[in-house]
Amino acid sequence: MFVARMRTIGLIFAIGVALASAVRALPAIAAPAESGRSYEFPFERGADRLKSDSRTSDQVVSVRDLFDHHGWRPELKFRIEAALPGGCEASLGCAEAHLLQHRVQALLAAIEADGSAIAFAPGNLWWGGASRANAGDDDVLRIFVARGLDPPRNPRCSADIEIADPELPGIDAGGASPWVLANPAQAVAVSPNARMRFVKRDPAKRLQISLSDPQGLSDIGPAGASEEFGLVFSGDSLAIQIEDPSSADRAAQGGCLFRFERWHR
C-alpha cells in the first residue's frame, strides 16, 4: 500500500518535472529571437537627470545585471545612444552631444552606484548618437549591441555554437542577424529564452553531441538551413561537447566543450 502510494507520488513528481521543462522550453519556441530586449532610459527634458520612477529603477538593475554577465564578452560591444542632429552623430561636436555625454555619465553613475566595479573587456562599451529620424524621442537613451571581435575559435572543434538571446539588447544596424558565436573559452550566461544552433565547419560531416544534462536541449526543429535548439537548464550550468566520430583523434576532441550558465535566475 505504502509502496504503491510512493510510486504514485513519484510518478506525479516526474510528470510535474517533465511539464515544467516543457513549459520552460515554450518561450524559446514562441519568442522571436530576432527582436532583442529594449533597454531605455528617459531623462528630464534638456537636463542630465534620469527620470526617477520604478520602471527606470528596474531598468537600471537589469542593465547592471546585463553588464555584469556580458561586459567581458569580446564578441559583443554595448553602445549607449540617443538622438542627435544630423552631422553630429559622427563628430560628437555639437552642444547636444555634450548633453548626451553628461547623460551617459549619469546613467553610468546609476548603474555603478551599487556593487563592485563591472569588468568590461577593453573597448566593449561606447556611447554615441543616432540620427534623429531613426532614434525617436530625443530624451531617451537606448542600449544596443554591436558586433565585436569573434571569440577565438577552438581549432579542435568540428563545429561552432551560435546563440540568439532575446534578453540581450537588439543588435544595431536594423535587420542584422541575432546569432552570435559562443565563446568556448569561458562560460556564457544565457537566458531561458535563448536559442542555439551548431554551425558545422564541414556541412557533410556527422557530429556527435553530448550534454552534461539529458534535458539540456529542446529541439525546435529546422529553421532555414540549420536546426535550432532551446537551451533548457535543470541546474545552473550546462556543458555541450561536440565530437566528430569520424576523427581518429578522439582524445584531442575532449577539449571541444562549450559551457553555459543560467542567466536571470
Partner: protein, 220 residues
C-alpha cells in the same frame, strides 16, 4: 507614608536616569557608527568625449572637454601604466549611496595626493566636493591631471576620504615634505603610502610611471 513617597520618587529618578543614560549611550553609538563607518571608495567609469567609455584612471589625449580622446593603455615591462608628458590622467571616484538619514549626519571629504619619486609632491582637493563643505556619499568626483615634463619615474596617487571634518591639506603637505624630503627617491613612495594610510583607512591607491617621451603610440 512620607517614607514610601520618598522611595517612589527616588525609584522614578533612578528609572529616568537609566533611560536617559541608555538613550545617550545609544546616540553616542549611532554617532560613532555614522562618523566612523568605512567609505567603500572605487574608481568609476568615465564617458570620454570621443565616444569611449573607460574605467578610470585612464589616459586621455587633451584636456579640453570637447576635444578629449581616450588613449590606448600603455604599460611598462613590469605592468605599471605609463603616462607621457602632456597626457592627461582622468580620474573618477565615488562610493555607494547610503541610507536616507546617514548622509544628514556626515558629509564626506576628499583629498588627492600625488607623490613622484623625485619631483615635488602635490596635494589637491576635489573641486566638486568643496574644500570645507564636503560631498554627498553618492556624489561622484572627477579629477584631471596633466602630466608635466619631468624625469622618468614612478608615482603614487592616493585618493583619500573621510567623514565629519575636512582634511588639513596644508598640514598634510607639510608633514609629507618633512618626512620625504630627506629620503632617497626609491623610498619616497612606500614612506608616503605608510604616512597617508595612518591619516585614513578610506583610500584608493594608484601607482603609475611617467615618462619624458610617450612610449606607446598615443597622440597622432
Amino acid at each position: 507614608m512620607l517614607k514610601r513617597k520618598a522611595c517612589e520618587l527616588s525609584n522614578r529618578w533612578v528609572r529616568l536616569g537609566v533611560v536617559g543614560v541608555s538613550a545617550l549611550a545609544g546616540l553616542a553609538l549611532i554617532g560613532l557608527y555614522a562618523f566612523d563607518r568605512p567609505i567603500p571608495l572605487k574608481f568609476l567609469l568615465v564617458a570620454v568625449a570621443d565616444g569611449h567609455i573607460a574605467r578610470t584612471p585612464s589616459r586621455i589625449a587633451e584636456n579640453r572637454p570637447e576635444a578629449e580622446r581616450l588613449l590606448p593603455d600603455c604599460r611598462s615591462a613590469y605592468g605599471l601604466p605609463i603616462f607621457g608628458a602632456g597626457d592627461t590622467l582622468a580620474l573618477r571616484v565615488g562610493s555607494p549611496p547610503e541610507s536616507f538619514w546617514l548622509p544628514l549626519l556626515s558629509r564626506q571629504y576628499y583629498l588627492l595626493v600625488l607623490v613622484p619619486e623625485s619631483s615635488d609632491l602635490k596635494v589637491f582637493t576635489f573641486q566638486e566636493s568643496g574644500n570645507r563643505s564636503g560631498a554627498d556619499a553618492d556624489q561622484q568626483l572627477a579629477f584631471k591631471l596633466v602630466i608635466p615634463e619631468g624625469p622618468d619615474q614612478s608615482n603614487l596617487l592616493m585618493v583619500m576620504a573621510r567623514r565629519y571634518e575636512p582634511f588639513e591639506a596644508n598640514q598634510i603637505e607639510h608633514d609629507l615634505h618633512a618626512k620625504l624630503d630627506s629620503l632617497k627617491p626609491s623610498s619616497r613612495i612606500s614612506s608616503a603610502g605608510n604616512l597617508l594610510s595612518k591619516i585614513t583607512s578610506n583610500s584608493l591607491i594608484y601607482v603609475f610611471r611617467t615618462s619624458k617621451e610617450a612610449q606607446c603610440s598615443s597622440r597622432e
